[in-house]
Symmetry: C2
């Protein structure tokens, strides 16, 4: 056995480690469609479990799911483009509705050119706003709280599995309200839902805060985000929640008759998270042996590997394993049925073990003839895989293992969170006080082996041209301002950029 189950470690080459884990844990792979990926059962299963958990939270806060069309008429986009500075134009355009065999080659049929092209939704603001303008008549129709689970597409030149793909899966919430206060309250409520979801389900600590002006969603009055720290110290924007003011309501004529009889513009919000979160999960919990999947989201929480040898006694092992799985599956954990699974493959038991280690099944039970005879279970805890350089396994009577399985899964979930949180907290520097310090911290040779975390410091919150200058200055260090955390310290000290008294505290980081 090699020192680690992956052939590249995080410290050797983090980007290559990421690609390796996606492949070796069989999470996803590139597809023949440029920039799109094929999500495989372990990766897609994690997304399904994220979806189920988050969907429950979205519904519990009063939202309902709708499904809007994939294709958006180009005129809708044009209407938005007029209103939105910074409007992105990289989108897939549908221009024909038929293929035809022309001179022996399949081609778009010139006779089937669409009068008005369609765009594959990069987001659904425009078509949903159009419906809102038809549906909303009176204050009695408000708030209108909707959500949609969908695939969307933004033509990307440089893609990376889960983190940046042309097509991705997401949820997009869109809501309309009578007032600024109500809409802002909604914006913050959903930010809170995202924070709780990220920390509880993904076991991924995040910092919720407001984006600086130049990082806002085009057209938003304010944008909030949750930011997670990856193991290479970079930030991942894991979810955003926008208060859109009356900007989109103006563009799309979303008005209501108020109690006083007057017609008023709605205040709207939008918020979303995507399959990018699977990338965040990998870079938060993966280690040099593969992924460690948080039990709450693991497609299979307990994998039972009967140590089959192609001999007659295999049957007894299989029966013993099946009975064990059935008993585990009758139990609950995290308010849901437990997910145990017997790996039926005929391959070498040690290959199967390492497959599940790389996938990061939280508990891996290896059932050999001696276990079956004695009525024991031998298992590995993926989060405590090695002790003194050797793989650590435990054995206990079967009833004892079954009795403590749920507690172990909860303990793994907690320990993954705690480990990530400790790492993050110890990688946020608060002692970088001047731009020169910032420069020397982030400007040093990238390969010095030290993980560069985040810097938390005060700034004067410059505007317009001054802000642009700051942005450029940071860009040279490949830095961005992630957000101004909601939990602000009592005092902000001096501005790291100007030395003047600071107005708020923000996070500086490199980012995905």
């Amino acid at each position: 056995m090699q020192a680690h189950a992956l052939n590249v470690t995080r410290s050797e080459n983090f980007p290559e480690w990421y690609q390796t884990i996606c492949r070796d844990a069989d999470l996803a792979e590139p597809s023949p469609t440029r920039g799109s990926m094929i999500m495989k059962p372990w990766g897609y299963g994690i997304w399904e479990n994220m979806q189920r958990d988050l969907d429950r939270r979205i519904k519990e806060t009063g939202h309902e799911n709708y499904y809007f069309p994939l294709l958006i008429p180009m005129s809708f986009i044009a209407r938005e483009a007029e209103h939105v500075e910074g409007f992105a134009k990289e989108m897939a355009v549908v221009t024909h509705h038929r293929l035809k065999n022309i001179d022996g080659e399949l081609s778009p049929d010139p006779d089937a050119a669409l009068e008005e092209p369609y765009i594959i939704r990069p987001t659904s603001e425009t078509i949903i706003g159009d419906a809102f303008s038809r549906w909303i008549k009176s204050y009695r129709d408000l708030p209108l709280l909707m959500n949609q689970w969908a695939n969307v597409m933004r033509w990307e030149m440089r893609t990376r599995l889960f983190l940046r793909t042309s097509e991705f899966l997401w949820q997009e919430g869109h809501t309309a309200h009578v007032s600024r206060e109500d809409a802002l309250e909604e914006t913050m409520r959903m930010l809170g839902v995202y924070r709780a979801f990220a920390e509880e389900a993904i076991a991924m600590p995040v910092i919720a805060g407001e984006k600086p002006a130049h990082e806002r969603f085009p057209g938003a009055e304010c944008t909030f985000s949750i930011e997670a720290m990856m193991q290479d110290g970079k930030a991942l924007q894991a979810g955003t929640s926008h208060y859109l003011g009356t900007h989109f309501a103006t563009a799309q004529n979303i008005r209501f008759q108020d109690r006083d009889g007057e017609m008023k513009l709605c205040h709207t919000t939008s918020w979303g998270v995507s399959t990018r979160l699977v990338g965040g999960l990998i870079m938060t919990h993966g280690d040099d042996d593969g992924l460690r999947t948080p039990p709450m989201l693991a497609p299979r929480q307990i994998v039972i590997v009967p140590m089959l040898r192609g001999k007659p006694e295999d049957a007894a092992l299989q029966d013993y394993s099946a009975a064990l799985a059935a008993e585990l599956n009758a139990q609950s954990v995290f308010g849901d049925r437990m997910r145990a699974f017997v790996d039926p493959k005929q391959s070498k038991p040690s290959d199967k073990r390492w497959d599940w280690v790389r996938k990061g099944a939280p508990l891996i039970c290896e059932i050999g003839p001696r276990d079956a005879e004695r009525g024991d279970v031998t298992w590995l805890r993926r989060d405590e895989l090695r002790e003194n350089g050797r793989v650590k396994s435990c054995t206990a009577p079967r009833a004892e293992f079954i009795g403590q399985a749920a507690d172990m899964l909860v303990a793994i979930q907690t320990s993954l969170y705690q480990e990530a949180r400790d790492r993050r907290d110890s990688s946020i520097r608060t002692d970088v006080k001047t731009f020169a310090d910032l420069e020397s911290y982030f400007g040093a040779d990238e390969d010095d082996g030290v993980v560069k975390g985040w810097v938390q410091a005060g700034w004067r919150r410059p505007q317009d041209a001054e802000l642009k200058a700051v942005e450029d200055k940071l860009k040279r260090l490949k830095l961005t301002i992630r957000n101004a955390p909601l939990d602000q310290p009592g005092a902000h000290g001096t501005c790291i950029l100007t030395g003047e008294p600071a107005d708020e505290t923000v996070l500086f980081a490199r980012a995905y």
Copy 2:
């Protein structure tokens, strides 16, 4: 109160009744995107529940979910087109990846024309087959059992909400096997899963059988379907399962090394159901007062309407209703948590009642001041809405209602199924023995008010040119052969088309 909650009845005008119910039960509406619909929470919620139930059945039979790209390179389609006669060419074609402002108008950017256009998947056989050809190496990799939940698009000229839309949601299963026997077994297994799902979850009786040769999926060796009878007597193909032989494996080079060391072609299958099932549910269970949603799929199974009057005592009604909902939601039904909901709207109680009647909430509780005082619950059962022309309501002490709620939901599910099954069974004629009889039965004036059901009769199973002649003959009567039921009678009698001895028994029907 008018005689019925909808302003058109099934017998007056079935197609208009269908449109009315989609609108009045707030299931879906047309969208600005030609041929696509907006699914609203009650309609989409039914689909979500269908998905959850069917997904469980698909996973229980050993399949895993993947997610493949939305866009398929045109060359993949070309490869399939060469192999598949009857290949449909109506598909959305993506030709550009950027919009540009040209002379003040947003247009596809000529500099961003794609070298190879992409097609929005009409189905994913080609791109999944391509992956299979890479993934499958040995008999050890088989069977490969995958499923995908996705949106697909087929450009349709005449569309109808849920039943025929350009974009629709579906699941598509694709599997590869070592032998014809294994693949056929899989084909039949999934047909059985669909049958059980339709009958148990949708409460929609179906007849499973094999499609005649001319109704096969292009490229399939045999196609099986489940067929449901709508209340206008027409058939709805509610799901299909195909054995594809080695046809697609040849086109896509899906081979495996067998135990004997030889390279062999895989035998493949595919099977799918779509949002069309929501249309089937509506036309199976709707009545002149709106939808009757089977409790197993109803987004809200028990709706509690506090009879609010804008008076101080409203607060007590709301509290009483909330407590009732909480107690109901702590219970289980159909192996899942019960779904009770308090309608918080301030509108007139009778409007709320009729809204929920039109949506078809299985149980509607109306809580007035007297109920709250006495600790009672007054409710309507949507499947037994009227008695002697009047709306029928029951009152019982709250604990008694709670105690029997689950049983009532189960009883409603059963009674909806039984009613649909009795209607279907009494509308299949087995006494139509000659083509002249068939002609006079279906040829009669369509507006004679009698629902034309199906005809079950023997045929000689003609082939090729002879089959084509039969098809044309039936087309003049707007008839199709739905399938040859798996449950064949002992004797087939004579062929309804030729009078010769029949080879099998088939179903003739008009269809959606």
